[in-house]
Symmetry: C2
Subunit: 153 residues, 2 copies
């Protein structure tokens, strides 16, 4: 299990994948982001500048989070995140895309006797049905991790 001490600036790690389905894109959008270019495939295909229905940006970050938990945070002493900077949705995510995530540790800072803060850049790429691969989302997050209790070892 990864504690704060196990992170070092420059570490990179890639994991995934997450298959994006139209049913899930519509379901998320109907609940949390019911704008027509996320919820109405027919109107989106004829009127949207994206050429079809696309995932809500918040759905993209949520799917990215699932990859982060499965591939990284789930087996760690993570305690939650304080925030995110530089969140960018570079390209739309379409039903049929497959998402893969890359993490890079930017900096680590001791916060208290029991925990530290790890600054991580996360980049999400989509592999399209066409075979093309594009960066679709990236952000820098500030994640708290418990420090190892050396006395207990």
């Amino acid at each position: 299990m990864q504690s704060f001490e196990d992170f070092a600036a420059g570490d990179t790690h890639e994991f995934g994948a997450y298959d994006v389905t139209e049913a899930e894109v519509l379901e998320f959008a109907e609940q949390y982001d019911p704008q027509w270019f996320h919820t109405d495939p027919e109107r989106a295909e004829s009127e949207s500048m994206y050429g079809g229905v696309i995932a809500s940006g918040w759905h993209t970050t949520a799917m990215t989070m699932r990859l982060l938990v499965d591939g990284f945070l789930g087996d760690s002493a993570a305690l939650g995140a304080k925030g995110v900077d530089e969140l960018r949705w570079w390209k739309p995510v379409y039903p049929g895309d497959t998402l893969v995530v890359e993490n890079e540790v930017l900096e680590t800072t001791v916060e208290t006797d029991s925990r530290g803060l790890v600054e991580i850049r996360t980049t999400t790429r989509a592999e399209r049905e066409s075979g093309e691969v594009e960066k679709v989302c990236s952000f820098v997050s500030y994640v708290m991790f418990a420090r190892r209790d050396d006395d207990a070892e």
Copy 2:
């Protein structure tokens, strides 16, 4: 319907509310952020530094988005967002909280003949079951809006 021309720096608007239920907190977390302090109420109550199960930060932004669409974006010429800066989760969101959102327009910029970019600060507050009100989340987003087609009017 609000087009790009209808926004001006300094505009503020408050709307809501969104009732946070434990069932929804668990459902979102099981699908997108299955860390134990989001998915396991009993363990969270005894072991978490938050004192109980809390909503995933990405769930908080998703619920905030729903308020933004219902109170603001749904009746507008919004075309999607390019990104977000300064996303901060100031305090945890708990089941039973009621969320309210305040928007402040920071800046507007013409992007092309057909659209402009509006920089908006969104602040989410939670009204607790205790009656206390706390800022729980805030971010600055860059939202594209269609410009009004004056020829067509």
